[in-house]
Amino acid sequence: MAEVKSEPIGELELTQDMFKKVKKDEKAYDKIVRPSLTYWADAWRRLKENKLAIISLIILIIVVAMAFIGPLMRPWSYDDQDFSVINKAPDSKHWFGTDDLGRDLFVRAWDGARISLFVALVSTVINVTIGIIYGGISGFVGGKTDMIMMRIIEIIYSIPTLLWVILLMVVLGQGLGTIIIAISITGWGGMARLVRGQVLQLKQMEFVLAAQTLGADTSRIIWKHLIPNTMGPIIINLTFQVPGAIFTEAMLSYIGLGIPEPTASWGTLAQKGTKMLLIHPYQLFYPALLISITMLAFNILGDGLRDSLDPRLRQ
């Protein structure tokens, strides 16, 4: 071996015994140091870094929990009347005050939350189910079928939601079911279009072609390859659909097309509150506050999810 002269480099003197021959390990090149994360674990990791989204998630959990616990915290039910305390401002006994019929507004607000969330949840589940199936078929089959199915959505979309509600009211009468159906009829189109777009794009991807080359049948391609890859956008869309449905319900109740008395929902509470706005402003304040907070929380959470599930951030 040739003698290695040690030359001083600055202060440091390099000598031969400072170096050691390392065996070349081919396999070591291919070692991956980063811990393995599934898609959802990785998304959750990124979501956790978004403080606002996590606060929104906590607020939503509290709202949902209160919708069940809230009414039990006070001794009255949502339709108990006490004529000795009519239009009473919030105090230690009635936390959100009472309305013109002597009903406790704290109980009614959380009972209303349950109704509003129920409407939102059921209509969203219906929308998503129809949307995925309809959009999936449309995108996967393609061609003429796709063309006809998309035109049908456009026709349904061309009739305003309000008109659907009024027409349905005539046939079905006022009630919870009518509202859910009305929101569902006009709401699934967006989801169907989203899923269709995703499927159209995905079915051309090489991994789907590879599965076909391997002899995979249609159901395998749909369940193993297409659906899992559309879940991200679907969940993002879902977090925007829920507040949309809450708001539609509130809007319909507000203009008097919603859920009939004595059942409470955020919309009907807000509507009654408006009438008393000048003399008893607290009657509008609490339902309006709850609607706003919930909507805001859903939207911020949706934004956070979009950032954390974005496929472009992860290849």
Binding site: L214, K224, N229
Partner: protein, 321 residues
Amino acid sequence: MAEEKKTLLLTRDLKKHFNVGRGLELKAVDGVNFSIKEGETLGLVGESGCGKSTVGRTIIGLYEATDGEVIFDGMNIGALDKEEKKNFTRNAQMIFQDPYASLNPRMTVTDIVGEGIDIHGLYEGKERQKRIYDLLEIVGLSREHANRYPHEFSGGQRQRIGIARALAIEPKFIVCDEPISALDVSIQAQVVNLLEDLQDELGLTYLFIAHDLSMVKHISDRIAVMYLGAIVEMADSHDLYKEPLHPYTKALLSAVPIPDPDIEKSRQRIMLEGDVPSPINPPPGCKFQGRCKYVKSICKEMAPELEEEGENHFVACHMVK
């Protein structure tokens, strides 16, 4: 070649036209004839959009041929029933171009490689796992990679996973659809060497689609040059490089850089005039006429047939006689 080998794949006047609306047809592949012998590699070259990937996908059954037939191992693959079709997919596989798009991002490497095993019900449980580990080792990955997701790998590693997936069901024939063009040069050599080693070990037959001529020359026994949906020249790879006959092949070969600065300096490039005509409405007669400097009136009237001009050297040109 010592003994005459069996022909594994044969195409007869293969055509694939795409309907692009308004009654127009895009003639991606317009009458392609070639054959591949067992254990052989046929390189298919041509510029972007000449239909080489469409040929590969039609052969493998991803597209239905508009006309003509593909004979694989004596069977016409256009007329298979469900059972035969499944049998065919076991024997013919494909390696894809884009290593980033060809692996499902939601599946682990085990599930990606094991997909073919599951579909054809080859192995189950422990045997399946062992087979997947073996496959990963064959393509130069290790078993620690089995539970990882595609995004954790580099392009070259992903392409190896794609190769393992194709090998999982023990095919005889693999269409390599530009498997190296998305990789950087140092990785290209690794993947090509891997493909060659696999061919030697497992006796595979390849249709190697690419646009990089030097790489194709390295791996192929024979090369077919495609232009606008048809083969213009086909020969043993040495012959093709030594004496290209078709003016298009000459132009293509003159574009290959030579790794010797002295020769490279004096390299004469044949520059082609104009663009490739649209495959929706190709000119009558020879498809290359608009860009060919030897063009004569016969070229505009009659399309030249692929004819044998030397031993195993086929060319489609009126001027080569």
